[in-house]
Each structure stands twice: as C-alpha cells, then as structure tokens.
Symmetry: C2
C-alpha cells in the first residue's frame, strides 16, 4: 500500500483560491481574532504529520486485531492508545471546541479537512475523537453551565470522551418509538434505564471516563418524537470537586462483529438505573440532537472522501508500477515485457472517476462546511442563508459523498485486479470500512427523503432557489470564452435540476409516494449538478493560476473537463427515472415480490 500523503496542496487550493475562506474569516468578528491563513496552514500541516505518521500506520492493525471485549471491558487494537494520547497531547480534541471551555474554536472548514485526514488514515480511529467532538458540540449548545464546566472541559481536553446513544434494537431510525426511560429524582437528576445498540465508542480504554448523551422518555412523555429528552450519563460518576467517583449504572453488554471498521468499538450499552442529567429542555431531546446532526452528517460524508482519497493514492501507485498488456496505439515501453496498466483506457477511466469524484467531493464538502460556519459565526441575512444552504446540502454531503466514496473504493480495488481482493494489499479494507458510511447516521435513503421531502418540497422550493441563485450568480459572473466549456453544461444541468424540482413539487401533491420513489435519484441529480458547480469554480480558480506554470492547475482544468464529459451525464438517466410515477413501484402487491 502506498504511504498516505495528505493532499495539502489541493486543500489549500480549495480553501483560498476557490472559496476565499481566509477573506471570510477576516470578515467575521467571531473568527477574525484567532483564525487566519497562517494559523490554518500551520494547523493543517501539523495535523497532516500526525495523520500520516501516527494514525495511518494503524489502519491494518485496527482491522486485523480489531477491538476485543472481555468482562464488560473493551480493549482497542495495539497502538490506538498511544496514538490517541499523542493526538490529545497535540490539542487536537479541542480543535473545534468552544474557547470558553479550552477549545481552539476553529471553524468547520478547518475541522472538516482535519477530519478528512483522520479518515484517510483510519476511519476507525477517527470515530473516537469524532463522536466525542459531536457530543461536545451538542453539550456546548444545550448543556447547563455546570454540565459544561464539569464535562465539556474534560472532553475538549481529551481526558474524557463522549458517545451518542440513540438507537434501540426494535426502533432503528424510528426514534419516536424508543423505550429507554428516565425517572426524575428529587435532586433534579434522573435515573435512566434501557438498552441502546450500535453505540460507537460506547466503551473503550482510551480515556478514563465516557460521557454518554442518551435519548430517553419521561414516564409522562407524549408518544412519538415529541416525547424524547436528552440526558448526559457518565460512565463514572463525577464528584463535586471534579474527581472521579463511583461507577454509574452503565455497562457495555457486548460489541458487534462487523464487515469493517473493526478498530471501532460498536457497543450494546445497558443503562440500569444510571444517574443522568437533563440536557436542554424536557421533550426537546431530538432538537438538541439535531444541533449536531448537520455537523455529524457532513462528517460522515467526509469519511467517504477520506477513504476515497486513500484508495486513489494506492490505486494510482499500483497502476503506475504494474506492467500488463500493451497500449492499443502500440507498445509504450518496448524495452519492458509489458506496458504499465496506465496505458489502458479502462484503467484511466477508473482512476479519473476516483480523482474527479474525490476532489469534487472535497471541494463541495468544504463549500458546505463554509455554510455551516456562516450559520454559526455570521449574523443577519448571511447567517440565515448559510443555515439554509447547510440544511439543504447536508443530506447531499452525507449520502452523495459516501455513495461516491464507496464507488471510489470499489474502483480502487478493481484497479488492483486479483490483488485487490487480498487483505494484505489493503484496498479491500477500504471498501469494507467505507460501506458503513452509507448506512449509519441515517441511511442514504433517509438522507434522500430528508432532502426531497423535508428540505425541498416542505419549503416549496425556497431552499432550492437559494442554491440555484448561487449557481446562477456564478454563471453570470463567468461569461468569458475560456469558461464556456464549463458554464454551458452547468447552465443546462441547473435548468434540468430546476425542472425536475418543479416537477416533483407539483406531482407530489397528487402522488405523495413519488417523494419516496424519486428521492434517491433526485439526490444524485442534485449531487452531480452541485459538483459541476464546484468543478466549474475550481476550473475558474485554476485558470487564474495557469500563468504560474504549475502543472497542478493544468491537472485541475483537465480533471474538470473529465468531470463534465464523463460523470455529469450520469444525471440524464436519473432525471428520466425520477420523473416517473410511483405506480410502477406501488402497483405490485407485497406478496408478488
């Protein structure tokens, strides 16, 4: 396997040349005092070192050794503990954390790129700090000052980690029907009893305490999603002076044996009369969870990008080294027994698909992260617009980037031929590790419904128009001849997406089921179009740099050309099927399946 190298140059290109993030930071008072280009560059370079040198080498041991479970205790794979300690000592657990509680307060565009590096290095490892950061985000937003002083400071410092306990075995994504109970106590705390499954980092040996955020229902809570509250439940109770006290009624019942991410502990967590503290208001637990949902869902999308990047680097190295067959145009290396497989059109197709999809996803993900930053740090209209664009694009980040990431890991495996199927070459692990990203944090089917039904149709197209206006403004600003090869197809793609959107809003009033049957296709049409927008933006930025004579910018423009010629047309079939009535799916009785 190739040694992982963080694509710092591409990250820098996206941040500064394409998105002008540095200008934005300086314009936002909440960021201007502590975020600038020098700081960001230093952070990304340091993070690249730790990802490349400390974490990337854990990828295979995490897979082969996995986590082990004995007597309720989870032991992580050899090397995880030391790497986590190095990560904590570097201050990385506080990268995006609130400065009032010891964090560095870095914006999402920075933490997102840091997440990508971690995920390229080892998704399993990334989940321990990742879940902790997510829990910290929710606690920071909704927890009482006392909870934040006691718990959040420790989480940001990396002394303790966090987990999110949502799913129950009978309920899956249908949180409205969870059964975990919370009984109010006289001292204002609660006693939590119930069982949760699929709890990432629910138990492990990396930190001395674990802070669980748990969804549960009060005895008199209304049925359904409006009766859910959020509680903080520590693994070990904390004394008034902040020291660790006795064990709480929290135990890990077992861990799952999974297709991939073997290094990540996926736990069954049992809460047995455990002491818990309300976070936010009673019966508003789902809203508290949704605070972090957009951040987390973009984070899962980034996992797909991280794997895809690693797979691409490996596949490219292999393709350049591997000699097999001859170019159709005649031997390229007549002095060797065979040409490198880079001469084969189908190998180039797979590599360019990976490259165009991964770089496009990285840029679009950073664009969405920037909207999240606007929603957090801007004010007035800019804040609202950022919030709405982030809400609209988050399901695309989660589902589209993970679908493209999975495609890229499968393609990277295919480039290796038979060796791609052999564990020691490492490519097959990336496929297995990435597969979960399409499933957890809301399956990609649920994301598609979120996009089409909750975001696009429920806003009667208003959220969509916000995005379309961004693209239209870009089109209007770039009417010069050099950009027309990108602008013309972008304009057609946007028009088609607009028509499809209008058509689905209209037809769903008569055929509500079309929301379900069209959602997946719609999300992908939207994703490919949004990616065309960002590839055109990258082409524009690269054209501005061509005079520097750096081949990197030539590569950008040629990859953009590939994207428009060979990937964007995927939308044609999807538009065709998305428009069709739902009858063809619902006229078949269940017993005819």
């Amino acid at each position: 396997m190739a040694e992982y190298q963080v694509p710092l140059k591409d990250m820098s290109f996206i941040l500064y040349d394409v998105l002008k993030a540095d200008e934005l930071w300086q314009s936002l008072p909440a960021l201007a005092d502590h975020v600038d280009r020098d700081t960001a560059d230093a952070i990304l370079q340091e993070c690249a070192k730790i990802a490349e040198q400390e974490i990337a080498p854990l990828l295979r041991v995490g897979d082969e050794e996995g986590v082990s479970f004995e007597n309720g205790k989870v032991t992580t794979a050899p090397g995880y503990k030391e790497a986590f300690q190095t990560y904590v000592e570097g201050g990385w657990t506080g990268l995006g954390g609130l400065p009032e509680y010891g964090g560095m307060g870095m914006p999402k565009v920075i933490t997102a790129l840091h997440e990508e590096m971690l995920c390229s290095a080892d998704i399993s490892f990334s989940l321990y700090p990742g879940l902790s950061a997510g829990a910290g985000l929710s606690l920071g937003k909704h927890g009482s000052e006392e909870l934040k002083q006691t718990y959040l400071t420790k989480m940001i410092a990396g002394e303790w980690t966090g987990s999110m306990c949502l799913t129950e075995s009978h309920a899956g994504s249908d949180l409205g029907i969870i059964r975990t109970k919370a009984i109010p106590q006289e001292d204002g705390s609660y006693r939590i009893t119930g069982n949760k499954i699929f709890i990432t980092a629910g138990e492990h040996d990396l930190a001395e305490n674990i802070v669980h955020l748990v969804l549960a229902k009060l005895p008199d809570a209304p049925a359904g999603p409006r009766g859910i509250s959020l509680f903080l439940v520590p693994k070990i109770n904390v004394n008034d002076d902040g020291s660790l006290g006795d064990e709480n009624g929290v135990s890990c019942g077992s861990i799952e044996h999974k297709m991939g991410i073997h290094g990540s502990a996926t736990c069954v967590m049992n809460f047995d009369d455990a002491k818990g503290y309300l976070v936010g208001e009673v019966n508003k637990g789902l809203a508290c969870m949704f605070t972090m949902m957009n951040f987390e869902r973009v984070g899962v999308g980034i996992q797909g990008i991280g794997s895809a990047e690693r797979s691409y680097q490996n596949a490219l190295e292999y393709a350049k080294d591997r000699l097999q067959g001859r170019a159709l145009t005649g031997a390229k290396s007549p002095d060797q027994a065979a040409d490198s497989i880079m001469v084969h059109g189908d190998v180039r197709r797979m590599l360019l698909n990976m490259k165009a999809l991964t770089e496009g996803s990285r840029a679009l993900s950073t664009y969405i992260s920037l909207q999240l930053d606007l929603s957090t740090y801007a004010e007035g209209d800019a804040q609202k617009k950022g919030e709405n664009l982030a809400a609209l694009l988050t399901p695309i980040a989660k589902a589209f980037f993970t679908d493209m990431g999975f495609e890229s890991t499968v393609a990277g495996q295919q480039v290796f031929g038979g060796h791609g199927f052999i564990r020691e070459w490492g490519q097959e692990q990336l496929v297995r590790d990435t597969r979960i990203t399409q499933i957890y944090e809301g399956t990609n089917g649920i994301q598609a419904m979120d996009l089409l039904a909750r975001k696009v149709v429920a806003s009667k197209g208003a959220l969509f128009t916000l995005f379309a206006d961004e693209v239209k403004a870009f089109i209007a600003e770039n009417s010069e001849a050099e950009m027309s090869e990108f602008i013309q197809p972008l304009e057609i793609a946007l028009d088609d997406l607009q028509s499809l959107t209008d058509s689905l809003i209209a037809s769903s009033s008569d055929d509500i089921n079309i929301l379900g049957t069209a959602a997946n296709d719609y999300l992908h049409v939207f994703g490919y179009t949004a990616m065309a927008f960002i590839w055109a933006s990258m082409a524009k930025a690269a054209q501005g740099k061509l005079a520097q004579g750096d081949a990197f910018y030539q590569g950008k423009i040629k990859t953009a050309r590939y994207y428009f010629a060979r990937i964007l047309p995927r939308r044609l079939s999807l538009i065709n099927t998305a428009k069709q009535s739902s009858d063809v799916l619902f006229d078949i009785e269940d017993d005819l399946f």
Copy 2:
C-alpha cells in the same frame, strides 16, 4: 437470515415457457435420448434439496472458519467434507460430464441452473466442484484418450478434483509473459517448473487427488501468447493400473487471506520438476483454455446471480418483518407501533431493482447457456449461430451479471440498515463473497474489451447483427397491443445500441483508444438492452399464462414493467459517455493524475 429457497418456479418458467428448452432438447439428436422435461425437473428438484439442506447451512461456517493451512496441507471448514461427499454420492460431479467417461451429459441450461443453486447456497463450496468441472471440460475436449480414461473418469466420479493453473504473480491477466517452464522428457512426458498464484482449489482435503491443468512454455517456445502449452499435472502420480503412486513435485506454498469466499482455498502453487502431460498441441495451450473459458465465464456470471438471489430473499423477509416509520399515505398498520418498511418507496426501489435484475439475469443467462448448448450439440448453421451468439454474449454474462449481482448484494445489505453491516445477519458476507466475481476469470474491464474490441469491432459488427436480428425477429412477432408497452421501448433501445455500435466501429478507426475508454459503458448499454429483450420475452410468456390465475404471472408482468420504467433508462447516460472521444482521458499526462 431467511432460509434459502431455490426459485424452482422461476427456473421452470424460464426453461419451458420462455425459452422452450424442452422442445429444443427433443430436436437435437445428441440430447433427445437422455434429456427431457421430466428428467430435467427431477434433477433440478433433487439439486434444490441438496443446495437448500446440505450446502446453504455451510455459508457462515465457511466464512467464519475459512480454510486453514499447515505444513502445505489445506483443511476446509467443518462440514465441507461431509457435504462434498454427499454431493459426490448424488452423482452431481458428473452432471455435465461426458457420458463416455461416466457423466450424465446434461446440457448447460441445466448445469447452469444447478450452479446458481450452489452459488446461492455458498459460492465458496461451489468452487470446488466448479473448477473441477471446468478442468474436466477442457480435458474432455483436448486430452488424449489415455488421459481421459485415467483422469477424467475419476474427476467425473468426484473421486478426484481439478484446478486451473494460469496466473503468475508478475503477469496477472497477461498470460503471454508467463515464466513456468515445461521440459520435454524422453518418455513423452514433461517436467514442469514454476509458480502460480490465485489457484482456486489448488489444494484441499475434499478428494484424494487433484488434477492440475497448467499453462507453461517449452524452452524453444515463441514469445507471447503463441508460445503457451497446456499440461495435466497430478498432485499424486498415477500408476499404470490407475492406483495412486508417489507424490508429484507439486506443493501448495500458502493460501491467500481474502475479503470474501473464505471457504474457498486460493492457493500459491509451486511446481518443482513436476511430471506433466501435454493436453492438446504444443503452443496451443491458450486455445485449449478458451474451450472452457466461455463455460467458466458464464459460470462466474451465475455466481453473481446466485448471491443476488440469496440477498434478495433475505432482504425481502427482513423488509416484511421490520417495523419502522409510517407510509407517506398514512399508517398502514395503525394497530402496530410502526408500519413494515415495505411501505417506503425507497425500500421498494431497492427490492425491485434486485428482483428485476436478478430474474432478468437468470433468464438471460439461461438464454446464453442455450446458445452454448447449440454450439455444442447442434449442427450446421444452428451450431454456428449458437457458437457466435455465445461468443458475443459471454463477456456480458460474466461482467454484467456480476456487476448487477454486486449491486444487488449491496442493495440487500442496505435494506437491513445497520444490521446489514453486522456479520451475524449474513448480508455483508454476500457483498464480500460476490465482489470477487467482478475480478476473477478476467476482470470486468477485460470482459468489456473482449466484447467491444474482439467480438464487435473485430467482426465488423457481424456478431452484433446476429444478436440484433434475434431481437428484431422477436419485435416483429409481437406486434399485438398488449405487448406494445414492452416492444416500443425495446425497439428504441435496440436502435440506439445499433447506432452506438456503428458509431464506435467507425470512430475506432481514427481513435483506437476509444475501444478502451468506451468499453465499460458499451458493455452495460448492451447488457441493459439484452435484458430488456429477455424481460419482454418473459412478459410475453407470462401474458400467455395469465388466464391460469396464478399471481406469479402477474408479478412477472409488473416486474417487467418496473424494469422498462426504472432500469432500462440507465442506458441513456451510458450512451452519452460511450460516444465521447478518448481525448479527455488520454490528454491528461500520467503525472497530472
């Protein structure tokens, strides 16, 4: 996991109602005396029993325990040996074997359906008899009478198994550069020395001897593919009286640790001055291998179908049982906490994709098998036409059915949500097991080149015309109103495929690289169009049975409708990209990747 049930009704429908295989058998003198509908039905029913009861239960143990390797010996997973013995005792190793050497001489349409059952049950298990049958086929066609009497009879009887030793670590699919040497001996035998990798069933404990068919080069052989000869190399030498003698210079150096098919031994085989016997003529080894290639490649395609069927059965049972969320049109089961996930359009989309692709693949695979039977058992023009159609459609069988099979196993995993990622539920294994089918026996990229360059363009479209004429005849025969919903889009799809074919033949004379860059898209356009032809054929056959009042035929017609509405349009995007010049892939210098 659902208990696997062989889809006998669908198999019977395809064989008799759609393809009229029974009429064909009676018309072919080579088959008429021993193959009729009663025989075939009895065989399929008996085979279904063994697949469901003896082999299907091995799927998980094969995965969890896998094969083990110690001191050059391979031990299969618990239960494999007993199941193989049962399989042998049932006479199944001789199902397609030549009657002169103890086989049952069943046509490929029967053995293909039998293979599907085995693959649904456990691909890993299926590979032991599968490779043996493939080696037997080659030996039966090209071996001397003495070799056949000594070895083939034992292989057909299941006492010994066979393997195919082609790949070497430096050469992969580029067989022209293999290094294994064969030195002629005075007694007419050869001494074989070299190392082979990825040898399925190269070593195991299921039979007392293993008959390796090995590609090697004579000292004075011409360079490249025209210098390759085929040799039979037994694991244990055979005495003149047929009893086993001393060990030959054949050893298993190690086994691979793989993503999937853990129950299958994938061996590094070392030949060290091993005694071997020429099969066929000197330097014509590749041609001998190609005898079995079409059969084997269709066989790998069938592995994809088998996995897809199993995944579909599991996913359907899960979807019907799993309660989550509510129908968009209002609660379907208001008395329960939630509706079954069958109410969700996106779940139906995944299930119907699986159903339409799997049943379509089964029918098309049987159609292709029937061409193979014509090529083997018919005479004159019918024989030639069958041979040509089989040659044309074989790469589609291998690549398209495995791509669709992989898609279906991934979809079946997705239906399970988080549980799909957990090993004990079984769905993730099907994804891992199926992934190899897109890689081995010639990667799907190689299949696509075989189709476009070697079959379509090299014949200047003549092979394609043969297929197109079949479809046109069907269209002409079915002009009645009830068929127009299928015939009209089929006609458009065929016209578009014809145009694409013409366009690629024309443009490849100036742009030879387009063969490589368009091949994958072209194969899929062809696959979807061929599948539309077979779905229209199934719809036609089902319409003829509707009066019987059996819901099965309603289901067929509605699934055909789904295929035309929701899957066939995939070709639109692929046609668009297949037509584009190769420049966009080749203008990017390798160091810009």
